[in-house]
Amino acid sequence: MTVSVVQFGGSNCDRDAVRALAHLGIDAERVWHEDGLPSDTDGIVLPGGFSYGDYLRAGAMAARAPVMAEVRSAAEEGVPVIGICNGAQIGSESGLTPGAFTTNASARFQCEPVHLRVERADTPWTAAYDEGEVIEVPIAHGEGRFEIGEDAHADLVADDRVLFRYCDADGNVTDAANPNGSTDSVAGVLGERETVAVLMPHPERATLPDLGRSTDGAGILRAFA
C-alpha cells in the first residue's frame, strides 16, 4: 500500500499526514499535484491547509486541478480516499462527497479539540472503533460549517452516510457541542462508496503519541494499513 498525499500550493498538513501514516507503518509519500498520481497509488489523502489561499471558496481551486480527475477515477475504482480539513473542502467541491463546507457560524477561525461520535463503525475509516464511540480529535478551520440542502440531507441520513457528528464528551449531539454550526452536527461524511470520506477534524494531529492530548485519530488512518 502506497498512499499518495496530494500536495497543492498552500497545502500545509501534507507532511503531518505522511508522518502520522509512517508512525502507523503505512508507506506514504507526498505527491505534487502537477505530477499526477503515481501508478502504484493505492490510497489517497487530500491534506489540510489553505490551497490557493482559499480563493473564491475554500477548496474551490484545488477541486478543479487536473489531478482531481485522477483522484475521482481512482475513487470510483475503489481506491480509498480521505479528505481532511481543506482536503474535505476540496473533496466536497469536487463532488466526491455531498454537501459543502462554508464559513463557521462564529465567523472565526477555530482551533480546538472536539469530540466526535462515530456514527458508522462498518467502514474502513472506522473499523477501529465501535458505533457510538466518542473520540477526541482537533479542528482548525474557518470554513467548516457543513451545509446541505434539505432533500440532500434527508438522502444523506437515509443512506447512512454520516460518518462522524460533533458531540460532547459523553457522546451527546448538542448545539453546544457543535463548534461551527454544521447542519445536523455533521463533521464527516462518506462518498458514494464507503472507501471515500471527508472530515473537517484532523486525525493526523491525533495520531503521534508525543504530539498532543489524544491519539484517537489513528484509527481513521489505519484504513490504509
Binding site: 462554508t102 464559513t103 462564529s106 465567523a107 446541505i148 440542502g149 454550526g181
Partner: protein, 83 residues
C-alpha cells in the same frame, strides 16, 4: 463577434446562514445605522467575445455552474451588456 461584459452575481441561497453578513450588519448598527437586514454577494465581471448576447450569457452561465458558484449553497444570476 461582439465584445460583452457578463456580470455574474453569486449569493447564498435564502436560509443559508451568512455569518460575514451578520457581522457586517452588526458593525453598521454599531455605527448608528438602522437596517432590517443585510445580504452579501460576490460579483464577477467577465469580459468576453461572443456571436450574440445569448451566447455570452450561456458561457457565463456555464462558468457559474462549474466554478463561480457552488450549487449546494449558492444561487446566481447572469446579466450581459455590450462593452
Amino acid at each position: 463577434m461582439t465584445a460583452y461584459t457578463a456580470t455574474v452575481t453569486v449569493r447564498l441561497k435564502r436560509g443559508v446562514l451568512d455569518p460575514e453578513a451578520e457581522t457586517t450588519q452588526q458593525a453598521l448598527e454599531r455605527l448608528g445605522f438602522e437596517l432590517s437586514d443585510l445580504r452579501s454577494a460576490d460579483r464577477f465581471e467577465v469580459d468576453l467575445e461572443a456571436a450574440d448576447a445569448d451566447e455570452a450569457a450561456d458561457r457565463a452561465d456555464e462558468m457559474a455552474e462549474r466554478l463561480l458558484a457552488n450549487p449546494t449553497i449558492h444561487d446566481y444570476d447572469v446579466a450581459v451588456a455590450e462593452r
